[in-house]
């Protein structure tokens, strides 16, 4: 994991001082609300429905047990004893006191954490694959590049007042687990024919009001030019992105208006002035950052036959092995997902007690490190396979062994109307209704891989456009309703879901999902995942079934 040196530490410490002074001036009436706003947002601080909300960065999803214990402490000392993991490898506190935020930031800085640029119209926390560095299908470890981007984007003086927020995601595997195609910039690391590292750059993806899949603007970029190229993209966006209309201000709108080809040409021109300047990365610095992500001291192990292990064990453990245990590049190791999706807990929530217990387990089973995924789950990346059962036994009493990773009940879900001032509808109770209705684990496993994504409004924090089934809260004459889409996906084959038809009330949704699933079961060929069937048959059969008049 990356470790701060004196420079990094000094900068986060100075940031705390800066924000302490800004907060003091705001509270003293010296800094007006509308001028404090962008400053507090760049420190992750929202003002929400009931209280402020503080968003803390977990850069590219990596967190140590020591940091996690600090987060637990903060949750207890400054909040109501729980935290919320988001779809952007961030963590949110829902009840901090504005006056105490500088103190929280100071606590964070003491464990090399911060809330810098987790909100606001600036470059946000860069995200990546939760299995980075251990994935069996990895080509390039994206983490050093994420850290290089983290440093470059932190306090970037030119890009703190962009037309709109800006999100970058990096992926270096065959499968895209970071939803790179729906980010402002998606970076795919690959090896060219000479085995040299190169980046493919996509731009203009995003969700929200105008969802779009990104376009390739640079098929192959040399690593030393990564930052100068990003500078060029951001500069073109900063200068020419729309500022007259908040809803048209994202880079995707600019790229669409210009066409990706013209946009890319403008960037090339800008870049030609920047590429041989100081912005060019030095090999020494690349090496330095890469050295923090070298492999841990893996003992020599051999693979265990997990199928045999499963057969000889209790059925809960079998399900868990099948769903929550993932292939690892090292023999004898697995990665393990703890889904924060136990029925009746808000998706993505974890209590301080859970975080502390998880930290202890991380020390014991996984080199003291954890990951956060954009599905709002936690990951132990390096668990010896022979200790999987022991880990599972430890997780069960913590309510952290729900064997549903990637299944219907492992939904992505925004906080919706229960916390968010922008919501049209609640989403947490809806998630719970669905979890209660589909609690038959055999059935869930039979359905298999299925992304259910729920957003409480069209801002799409819950990624509903790219859910295999997406649910969007809408407002119909002051009442909460839910629109249903199918066919979205967020991987390398990203696609946006299509709306089935008129929206439903909350209590109708479980039935609607049931009909969709039954349609799938009838139409699927053996081995066909839900999304494959959707793509083959289109939305019509689902639509007919869902809206059929009762016979």
């Amino acid at each position: 994991m990356y470790k701060y040196d004196n420079y990094d530490q000094q900068m986060v410490d100075e940031r705390v001082l800066q924000f302490r002074d800004q907060t003091r001036r705001f509270l003293a009436g010296e800094l007006p609300e509308d001028e404090f706003l962008p400053l507090r947002l760049q420190n992750g601080l929202y003002v929400q429905r009931f209280a402020p909300m503080l968003r803390i960065a977990i850069p590219y999803g990596m967190v140590s047990s020591r940091q996690m214990r600090k987060l637990a402490y903060i949750a207890r000392r400054y909040d109501k004893g729980y935290v919320h993991f988001t779809t952007r490898q961030n963590l949110q506190l829902n009840w901090p006191r504005l006056e105490e935020v500088p103190e929280i930031l100071e606590e964070l800085a003491s464990v090399q954490m911060h809330a810098i640029q987790t909100s606001g119209n600036c470059i946000r926390n860069t995200t990546t694959d939760q299995f980075a560095g251990v994935a069996y299908d990895e080509i390039i470890d994206p983490r050093p590049w994420c850290e290089i981007i983290r440093q470059w984007s932190t306090f970037h003086p030119e890009f703190a007042y962009l037309p709109r927020k800006f999100k970058i995601a990096v992926c270096g595997s065959e499968q895209d687990r970071a939803a790179t195609q729906v980010h402002d910039i998606g970076i795919h690391a690959f090896l060219n024919e000479n085995n040299d590292v190169r980046f493919k750059i996509l731009a203009g993806g995003g969700l929200g009001r105008t969802p779009m899949v990104g376009s390739i603007i640079k098929p192959s970029l040399e690593p030393e030019h990564l930052l100068s190229y990003l500078d060029a993209v951001l500069r073109v966006y900063n200068r020419y992105g729309r500022r007259d209309n908040k809803y048209k201000a994202r880079i995707k709108i600019l790229i669409k208006a210009l066409t990706p080809a013209v946009f890319s040409k403008k960037v090339e021109q800008e870049w030609s002035y920047l590429k041989e300047t100081e912005a060019k990365l030095t090999q020494q610095e690349i090496d330095r950052v890469q050295s923090f992500f070298s492999e841990p001291d893996y003992p020599e192990l051999t693979n265990i036959n997990l199928t045999d292990l499963a057969l000889s064990s209790e059925s809960d453990f079998q399900w868990w092995l099948r769903r929550n245990v993932h292939p690892h590049k090292k023999p004898g190791f697995s990665a393990v997902t703890l889904t924060l999706k136990a029925t009746a807990d808000a998706p993505g929530d974890a209590s301080a007690e859970q975080l502390e217990a998880i930290s202890d387990l991380a020390d014991e089973f996984s080199f003291g490190e954890l990951r956060v995924s954009h599905e709002q789950n936690l990951i132990f990346a390096d668990v010896p396979q022979r200790r999987l059962h022991e880990l599972w036994l430890n997780l069960k009493p913590l309510n952290l062994a729900t064997p549903n990773q990637g299944l219907l009940t492992d939904m992505i879900c925004c906080p919706g109307g229960d916390f968010c001032a922008l919501a049209n509808a609640r989403s947490i109770p809806l998630a719970e209704n669905i979890q209660r209705r589909f609690d038959d684990i055999d059935f869930l496993h039979d359905i298999g891989e299925l992304d259910l994504n729920i957003s409480g409004c069209m801002n799409a924090c819950g990624h509903h456009h790219v859910g295999h089934i997406g649910i969007l809260g809408v407002d119909r004459k002051g009442e909460e309703y839910y629109q249903v889409q199918v066919g979205g996906a967020s991987g390398h084959d990203a696609s946006l879901g299509k709306i089935l038809g008129p929206s439903f009330k909350m209590d109708e949704i479980p039935d609607v999902i049931d009909k969709i699933l039954k349609t799938y079961i009838e139409l699927r060929t053996p081995e066909e995942r839900f999304i494959d069937t959707c793509r083959r048959v289109g939305i019509q059969p689902f639509k007919e079934r869902v809206y059929a008049k009762a016979a």
């Binding site: 100075e14 010296e30 003086p157 703190a160 007042y161 300047t277």
Partner: protein
């Protein structure tokens, strides 16, 4: 008169910013800044006027289009119509780094003391403070951070070079 932060000092900004092209050939007494759309006028007046003549850009203006003439002016101002409009930051870097403009680049308009640190890093060398902004805070803001991650127009070495003592 508005306060000016320049060379780590506070003084009065005695430049007048002319919003519209003045009727030729009369310029008001003293130092003036003319909008880029009056650049021909400004060039002619430069040296003949009884004060300094500079030009100013608005956030959507494009300094590249007048690159060849900029060196004739000792002061170029960039206006921030709204403090959240970040285009001026890019313009300043263009002036400093691409067009090699060596003179004074002044931030005018709606800027907050909290922005001065980033403005300076992008190449601004003077700051016309809004009436309500505290000059002491402005001075202090120049010291917000003691190290920087990026290579930008202020030519201080970014951390990734300092680490390796290049």
């Amino acid at each position: 008169m508005p306060k000016l932060l320049k060379d780590q000092q506070i003084s009065n900004d005695d430049f007048q910013v002319l919003l519209q092209a003045p009727e030729e050939p009369i310029l008001p007494e003293g130092h003036v800044l003319l909008h880029i759309s009056s650049i021909d006028h400004a060039i002619k007046a430069n040296g003949r006027h009884n004060g300094q003549v500079g030009i100013w850009f608005d956030s959507a203006d494009e300094p590249e289009t007048v690159a060849n003439t900029l060196h004739q002016f000792e002061v170029i101002a960039i206006n921030f119509p709204k403090f959240i409009d970040g285009r001026g930051y890019s313009l300043a870097r263009l002036l400093r780094e691409r067009l090699d403009y060596p003179g004074d680049i002044r931030a005018i308009g709606d800027i907050l003391v909290d922005q001065i640190y980033y403005l300076r890093r992008c190449g601004f060398s003077s700051f016309r403070l809004r009436e309500d902004q505290n000059p002491d805070h402005a001075l202090a803001a120049l010291q917000t951070f003691s190290a920087d991650y990026q290579a930008t127009a202020d030519k201080l070495s970014p951390v990734y070079r300092l680490r390796h003592q290049l």
